[in-house]
């Protein structure tokens, strides 16, 4: 069942990584709140920060902020900076006010920001104190989404890692799937695992706090997102075992991911083939259609979400694209290794960023498609480059078989559009 997954003669795992430091054009981890608050339906995210933090969430969340958001910012004012005792009392007051207004909230995350980290406001202690105060109705946790510590999707990592120490202990042999997925994708995944007889399957994050996510020495966990380094470490500390696998993007990625899980849970080759055959066929057909546009085109990834390596692997192997540079904000060998093994040698693999130098490289290479953030996309389009803005890849269902065609289409659309508009000129 793994015949097509033979790695290329030379993968990228041993490619020397270009490590750069300089100006980084990335989001901070607070941005993770925007999708996490929809996923965890009884959670509220209270950022303790400045007006900048509130403005960031508002700018990134667009109009969604009016759909009864379960996040807010406690904006630090001049008086809060004067004395820290005052700040703790203020925080208690703000939290009580908030919980009175939203009695349906069961988990409250105090999210640290750059200002709160720099003034060393001890949100960990505040969370403990508030947990006692509001027990048993509300559990208060703390993590940092600050820009000085986290980049974009790492906010989810920090959030999930903060939940691991308080998960109930279990001795059961269970599969724990880690990473927030769109509900529809999560259901598809559970369907496939169930059909193979893998179970019970637990999810982190769960949709509600009452769900039975637990962890222990017999837990085996698989990651569906490549940015969960700290959560990985926290689960290992609880005695759980990681199932290393490429990430479930495209037909190959999904198959490899499922195969690793199936192997760990003793699923027979016949069962695996029976369950995956039909969706694999569908995925391949859908990819084939979308990738007509992509075949032979070059692609350049700016660092953003840590999804870059597995996505480059998908585009290179299943859509026939040629990665020029694959930039990632961070590279974890344990997490990204399996995808690096499969990514054919050739592209520059870069970690970190000096955005001006990277733009110089990008302009010199003139790739057919550039995957980048919204601050760079329009300026690059104006220079005649086709771009795919990266944040959409986090907000759109792209994992597993049924989304494989959509995933390829997301990349194809920019190129198609340029072709349509230029043909009409």
């Amino acid at each position: 069942m793994t015949e097509h997954l033979s790695p290329p003669t030379a993968g990228c795992r041993s490619t020397p990584v270009l490590k750069e430091r300089g100006q980084r054009e990335v989001f901070c981890g607070l941005t993770g709140i925007i999708w996490l608050h929809r996923k965890m339906q009884d959670a509220f995210f209270l950022v303790v920060g400045s007006r900048t933090c509130a403005h960031l969430l508002q700018s990134a969340a667009g109009v969604m902020i009016f759909a009864e958001p379960r996040f807010a910012t406690a904006i630090l004012e001049e008086s809060d900076l004067a004395g820290l005792n005052d700040a703790h009392a203020e925080l208690d007051r703000t939290v009580s006010e908030l919980l009175a207004r939203r009695p349906d909230i069961r988990q409250l995350f105090l999210v640290g920001s750059c200002p709160s980290e720099v003034i060393k406001l001890d949100l960990g202690r505040a969370a403990e104190r508030l947990t006692v105060e509001h027990a048993p109705r509300v559990r208060v946790l703390n993590y940092s989404g600050s820009g000085i510590e986290t980049t974009f999707t790492q906010g989810e990592d920090a959030c999930l890692a903060s939940m691991v120490p308080v998960l109930p202990e279990t001795q059961a042999r269970e599969l724990l799937v880690v990473g927030a997925l769109p509900d529809v994708v999560e259901d598809q995944m559970l369907g496939l695992l169930d059909a193979m007889g893998v179970g019970p399957v637990r999810l982190l994050p769960a949709r509600h706090i009452d769900n039975t996510t637990a962890v222990g020495p017999n837990t085996q966990f698989a990651l569906v997102q490549p940015f969960l380094g700290d959560t990985h470490a926290a689960l290992v500390r609880r005695g759980a075992t990681h199932i290393a696998a490429p990430f479930p993007f495209g037909d190959e990625g999904t198959t490899a991911w499922l195969s690793a899980v199936a192997h760990a849970f003793g699923v027979s080759d016949e069962t695996f083939a029976r369950v995956t055959e039909a969706p694999r066929q569908r995925a391949r057909r859908a990819i084939a259609q979308a990738s007509e546009t992509l075949n032979g085109k070059s692609v350049f990834f700016f660092p953003d979400s840590q999804l870059e390596i597995p996505l480059a692997r998908f585009l290179a192997r299943e859509c026939g694209m040629q990665p020029v540079e694959v930039g990632s904000p961070y590279i974890h060998d344990a997490l990204h290794g399996p995808d690096l093994d499969l990514l054919p040698a050739g592209p520059t693999i870069s970690e970190g960023q000096d955005v001006d130098k990277q733009l110089d490289r990008c302009m010199a290479a003139r790739p057919d498609l550039t995957v980048c953030g919204l601050g760079l996309a329009n300026p690059l389009e104006a220079q005649g480059l086709s771009t795919k803005w990266a944040i959409e890849l986090v907000f759109t269902p792209v994992h597993f078989y049924e989304q494989a065609g959509d995933l390829a289409s997301l990349f194809a659309r920019s190129i198609k559009r340029r072709a349509i508009l230029e043909a009409a000129e």
Partner: protein, 513 residues
């Protein structure tokens, strides 16, 4: 600490970015943590700029904090100069860098860069975006503009236009044309479109035209003091204000050139019989002070609306706002808390809201049409077409903007007459706003057979009797709020505890106009 879901203004360094991005040949070196670059996308996405904002961020991270963030700042500053070769540099700190106290101004000055380096002190924990823009522009002008001999011909500067300004692009074009018609050349338009070199020759203009007090007033005052340039006090939004502005310009310049206003259609449009149904429509106005105050006059004096509420989110302009509200017989709403705005709108029950992006959402939730008249705005309010709000063409644009969200006259009559038409009724909302139909009122779902005790009092102690409540529902949604309010006020004035059908019609007669 202040619990905040939505904020009308960003932090002050975003204001500084608006100045830097509006200008050319200027570079902003901002000491800020990784992540603060999010602000770039306001310019590249909302305003759709085709270049990166001229801002270099130090993007320090946690591991840098223990060591040498000051060194990081110097490197970033030097790199920015070497790469972009700007005519001048502004340097400053964002909220986090303000806490680590590296003093970007002092650091940059010691570097000996061959161009002017202007330090910005923007107190992030006290002030907001508009202050940041105003202060930045002032510091640039203070550093670069010097008294000079006047130009031979009468010229002026146009002050206040920035990047991400609501309709700044087209307002400046409109007013520039108007000034040319008056025989006045524009010396420098700043910050929008100006280079630091342009700023150095601002002193040669005869006077200044201040279009946006929020972002240009401090600089205008400074130029008045140091260069002896008077500045205009009237913001030319609306026909009357534009005419008054023209008179003000004539006074400052001595120009007697005639103005061709044959393109001004708003005055006839508002007088045509088609517009009669607009008379007395109750509007709630909220936005930045300049736009809100100007629109209050347009709404009352040019459109014939009744201003039912007036306010602004920028406290800096609370005083003139209070004065104007008093003139309108209103208690002004000065707040940056949108929940407070929502409550005020709910209480006022207007037929239309004139506000910002937030008020558009409030309107959607309450089922009240809304026209956007002020920042903050989303991408759709940076239109491709020419759409000033200033000058005569601006008056035309405003007429269309204010009429569009309302139901049309005949539609209004038909809704009165055939309330139970199955596809043309209350719940369907204005026929051209399919997606924005007001939410059905709670009363609409109350079964007819409910006992009287279930008719909820809408406010105070006055109770609506069931028949009266049913009668009220026969009134179309866009005047129902007003009828409900008037009736309750009437009942309270009369000392009535209950509202019957008779009370409803008594009140109608009482308030008849």
């Amino acid at each position: 600490m202040k619990l905040t879901v939505w904020t009308y203004e960003g932090p002050p360094h975003v204001g500084a970015m608006r100045v830097a991005t509006g200008m050319k040949g200027l570079h902003y070196v901002l000491h800020a943590p990784q992540g603060d670059t999010y602000a770039d996308l306001l310019f590249t996405m909302i305003e759709r700029r085709d270049h990166r904002p001229p801002v270099t961020y130090t993007t320090f991270q946690a591991r840098d904090l223990g060591s040498d963030t000051a060194g990081l700042f110097r490197t970033a500053c030097q790199d920015a100069y070497d790469r972009f070769k700007p005519e001048a540099i502004i340097v400053g700190a964002s909220c986090t860098a303000e806490l680590i106290q590296d003093d970007p101004g002092g650091l940059a000055e010691t570097m000996g860069l061959p161009v002017p380096v202007i330090a910005l002190e923007l107190p992030s924990y006290q002030r907001k975006e508009n202050f940041g823009a105003d202060e930045t522009f002032f510091q640039i002008v203070r550093a670069l503009a010097k008294p000079m001999d006047r130009t031979e011909r009468v010229t002026c500067n146009i002050l206040g236009g920035t990047a991400l300004g609501f309709r700044h692009r087209d307002d400046i074009a409109e007013i520039t044309n108007l000034l040319y018609e008056l025989g006045i050349e524009v010396n420098v338009t700043a910050p929008m479109g100006a280079t630091p070199t342009d700023i150095t020759r601002m002193g040669q203009a005869h006077f200044n035209v201040l279009l946006y007090p929020e972002t240009g007033e401090t600089a205008a005052r400074h130029l008045e003091r140091t260069c002896g340039q008077p500045y205009t006090k009237i913001v030319p939004i609306g026909t009357a204000a534009t005419r008054a502005f023209i008179e003000e310009i004539r006074g400052l310049s001595g120009s007697t050139a005639p103005i061709d206003d044959h393109g001004l259609r708003q005055t006839w449009w508002t007088r045509s019989v088609d517009s009669i149904y607009l008379t007395g429509k109750r509007v709630f106005i909220f936005g930045d002070a300049t736009h809100a105050m100007a629109m209050a006059h347009v709404a009352r004096d040019e459109m014939g609306f009744e201003v039912a509420g007036l306010g602004c989110y920028n406290r800096e302009f609370a005083r003139p706002m209070r004065a104007l509200a008093k003139e309108f017989g209103l208690e002004p709403l000065i707040t940056d808390d949108y929940l407070e705005v929502e409550r005020a709108i709910e209480a006022a029950q207007p037929e239309m809201i004139m506000g910002t992006q937030m008020e558009r959402h409030i309107g959607k939730r309450l089922g009240i049409p809304c026209a956007v008249i002020s920042a903050p705005v989303h991408v759709q309010d940076f239109p491709a077409r020419y759409s000033p709000v200033m000058g005569f063409e601006g008056a035309n644009v405003l007429f269309d903007t204010l009429v569009h969200p309302l139901v049309m006259g005949l539609e209004e009559h038909l809704l009165h007459m055939f309330r139970e038409d199955f596809e043309f009724n209350d719940a369907a909302g204005p026929s051209h706003h399919g997606g924005h139909a007001p939410k059905p009122s709670e009363q609409a779902q109350t079964p007819v057979s409910e006992p009287e005790s279930l008719t909820a009092p809408a406010s105070g102690e006055v109770v609506w009797l069931h028949d009266a409540e049913r009668e009220l529902k026969k009134i179309p949604f866009f005047v129902r709020g007003k009828a409900r309010r008037n009736t309750e006020t009437f009942a309270a004035d009369q000392g009535l505890a209950e509202i019957s059908v008779d009370t409803l019609y008594e009140a109608k007669a009482h308030y008849a106009r």
